[in-house]
Amino acid sequence: MADEPLVDWEWVFEHLDDLWAATYQHLQLTIIAVLVGLVISAVVSLLIYRDRRFYGPLVGVAGFLYTIPSLALFALLVPITGLSILTAEIALVSYTLLILIRNIMAGLDGVPREMREAADGMGYTTWQRLARIEFPLALPVIVAGLRIATVTIIGLVTVAGLIGQGGLGALMIRGFSRNFPTQIYLGAFLTVVLALLADAALLLLQRALTPWNRSGAR
């Protein structure tokens, strides 16, 4: 292997279609996981918002799921849901929950008390206050959580390649089993690029959603 170049560019140019397909599959698995995770986290956060006592137990459950290594979670699900996309997505979604719930709640808690009192004074109901005042002000922290969750999931999707779900992880594993470093490096490179692009895209989204923050944005 030492005599061969680490990346066989000829192979790369002949397989651009395959590389694009793997990247697209990777992105698809990521988007499904993050969107489903966001919906579940939003519902859970609303529950916590209504009653603080839920915070400890629900974040505890999310933390427990987050601690279980991805490959172990896949293995526990395989007897139930098989080597399927469902297995991959259940596990991936479960990793987004801790990050998203914690950031949604941190964002809402970070809203200055005066703002809340001003809203109350203007006669907002609790839900109006949440929708019009607290949620918009919490957006930067919520999107920050979304960025962390997305980048984390893009990394974890590579592991789903081990249970036959394709993506860039499968590409790397093929490279390993065929002793062909080009596929390993292309897979690793494209995963990092995907993570950086997704992160940048979400940052732009946050800027667009919070125009009042633009001058002081950190």
Partner: protein, 238 residues
């Protein structure tokens, strides 16, 4: 139910408790790989984090390492050094060490930097040396954040040591990778439960360490993670 009895039968088989593929040896391999990597990661990241946090220089390194640490997938870390190192424990330990560095480095640097400047000034006024300031003022105050970084690193290392089996490594991941390959569900479940338990025990151990090592004067102050780390403002692992 059939699966449950199969799993229990697998677990009860004395053959699975001895020899080169037995549970005790696999568990020890897993702990060995994780501990060696975490110690190596600490040896690199802790001094570097202390120096960056104290001097407040080269802070861009911290941001870069934090971002890279999140963006580079652990499976890629395990595979990219393969052409140079070949299959074996060193390959896995290199990958796990690199994996453990970002949380320790980032939390140490940020934790030290965020120590109240007045405390540091007071120490300086009392004639403490720079090393004395780090050892007796900054580290004790930043300890909860530093230990949280170590906890995140340890859990990640234990979790990713499982993936070492992909590159023909030992450890508990063997049961998972072989279980997938052989379609042996009993083996899969035993492996998964053991790996999950080890990760949770690791997490709990480091969490209790935080409770024991941090000075009561510091823990007495109630600080929520949100207060410590507005995620938009500073990179930190909690």
């Amino acid at each position: 139910m059939e699966l449950l009895s199969e799993t229990l039968a697998w677990l009860m088989d004395p053959g699975h408790w001895q020899g080169s593929n037995g549970i005790p040896l696999r568990l020890l391999q897993h702990i060995y790989l994780s501990t060696a990597s975490l110690l190596a990661g600490l040896a690199v990241a802790l001094p570097l984090g202390l120096a960056i946090g104290h001097t407040r220089r080269f802070e861009t390194i911290v941001v870069a390492v934090a971002n890279l640490g999140r963006a580079v997938p652990s499976l890629a870390l395990l595979l990219i050094f393969l052409p140079f190192v070949g299959i074996g424990d060193p390959l896995i330990i290199i990958a796990l060490t690199l994996l453990s560095i970002p949380p320790i480095l980032v939390n140490t640097a940020v934790g030290i930097r965020e120590v109240d400047a007045e405390l540091v000034e007071a120490g300086r006024g009392m004639g403490m040396s720079e090393l004395g300031l780090i050892r007796r003022v900054e580290v004790p105050v930043a300890l909860p954040v530093i230990l949280a970084g170590m906890r995140v690193a340890a859990v990640q290392v234990v979790a990713t040591a499982t993936l070492g089996a992909v590159v023909a490594g030992g450890g508990l991941g063997r049961y998972l990778i072989d279980g997938f390959a052989l379609q042996d569900q009993a083996r899969l479940i035993v492996g998964a439960v053991l790996v999950a338990l080890l990760a949770i025990v690791t997490e709990r151990t480091f969490a209790s360490l935080e409770g024991r090592l941090v000075s009561p004067g510091i823990t007495g102050r109630h600080v929520t993670p949100a207060e410590l780390a507005p995620p938009s403002a500073q990179p930190m692992f909690l």
